[in-house]
């Protein structure tokens, strides 16, 4: 007996068409969505555009945390420094904290503000924490994460 042949041997599975359309639609919808403000650790992060004005108003210095989602040492920094209640309180008291998240790997480019800040402070890798005064002049920086003590030592140098 001859095996049953499919009615149309050249048919394209409907499920594949539906799945493709759904994924493409999901991708388009996602790219149109705005990313929520970052909530990492116990720090209240400020938008880069508002940092200088806030720093002048409150007479505080600025802490720029240059980071990326894929960067493992950055997650350690988040957990050990920005997630530590005592350190987070000190940072919030003395600094206007700005989180600058690199999206080059995920999206192929960065928002203009991120690009400008990375260029301004010559960021070569992640994490990089830059301490600046209210005019944006750099006072100290930490490149990479060498542990909580190193961070505290560098932060202590900022006057």
């Amino acid at each position: 007996m001859e095996p049953t042949r499919p009615a149309n041997q050249r048919a394209i599975p409907i499920a594949l068409i539906v799945l493709t359309l759904a994924l493409v639609a999901g991708r388009v919808a996602w790219s149109l969505m705005k990313r929520p403000a970052p909530k990492v650790g116990l720090i209240e992060w400020v938008e880069p555009s508002k940092a200088m004005a806030l720093a002048r108003e409150s007479n505080k210095k600025i802490l720029y945390d240059f980071t990326a989602d894929w960067c493992q040492p950055c997650h350690l920094l988040d957990a050990e420094v920005f997630g530590d209640p005592a350190l987070a309180a000190r940072i919030s008291e003395e600094f206007i904290a700005v989180r600058v998240v690199d999206r080059q790997q995920e999206e192929g480019r960065n928002p203009a503000a991120v690009e400008a800040l990375q260029r301004q402070y010559g960021v070569r890798g992640f994490p990089t924490v830059v301490f600046a005064d209210s005019s944006g002049a750099e006072q100290a920086r930490m490149e990479g994460f060498g542990g909580r003590q190193v961070f505290e030592q560098i932060m202590g140098q900022v006057r």
Binding site: P3, T4, R5, P6, N8, Q9, R10, A11, I12, P13, L16, I17, L19, T20, L23, V24, G26, R27, W30, S31, D69, W70, Q72, H75, Q105, E106, E107, G108, R109
Partner: protein, 240 residues
Amino acid sequence: MSGVVIAETFRRHVTNIGFIAYLALLAILSLGVSVFNRPASVWPTLVTLLALITGSGAIGPEFSSGTLQLILVKPLTRASYLLSRVTGIVLAVWLAAAVCAVFELTGRALWSEGVPFLPIGAGLLNIMADTILAISLLALLGSITRAYFNVAIYVGVMATLWVTEVAVGFIRQSSSALGRLLANRKSVDLVLSAIDRNLFPEVLPAFDPKWLVLVLSNAAVALLLACLAFRGREVPYGAD
């Protein structure tokens, strides 16, 4: 899809001596690097390489060897056959990725203080998605070419992109007319980077749903195009 084709494709790959040797190498490497490297940092690249090697045989060589003519007389649609072959290969590569993750976790459990389940899990998930994309692209290229031209085109496009990106950077720094012309043309970089990111995305060591949707949607488009190309293609009699 056909369970028989999936199972047979999977079996043929995992019983191949080359595959087993590569798997052993991956396992040793994953165990070794767990001592000093960051989580899921070395083996994802090697798993991608395995996906390229195994994916190269997805469909193209069957046009050249003449086996396709015999297979297509079976009660199976062309799309089902193609998708089943891709699934079988993907499963074989996933097995290799899972072995790497298990060995790295074991190594870290034995020699490190903490076991980083999350980064390794995210790395595994990402490489699984990336594998689907790489094999789907090879299936697409295989459905429009013959023999192993699919992997040649894949690697060729990847190398051309890289060379073009480097060349654009050099030309920009020169004082030539072309350099001045390219100096303020960000769109060139955006186009190159968009092609690179969509076809050959870098495997992230962290969970990023947006990246996953990008990779999977590209894979789905590639598979759909592969089915459409294979559907209308003349299947030759006999081997080349």
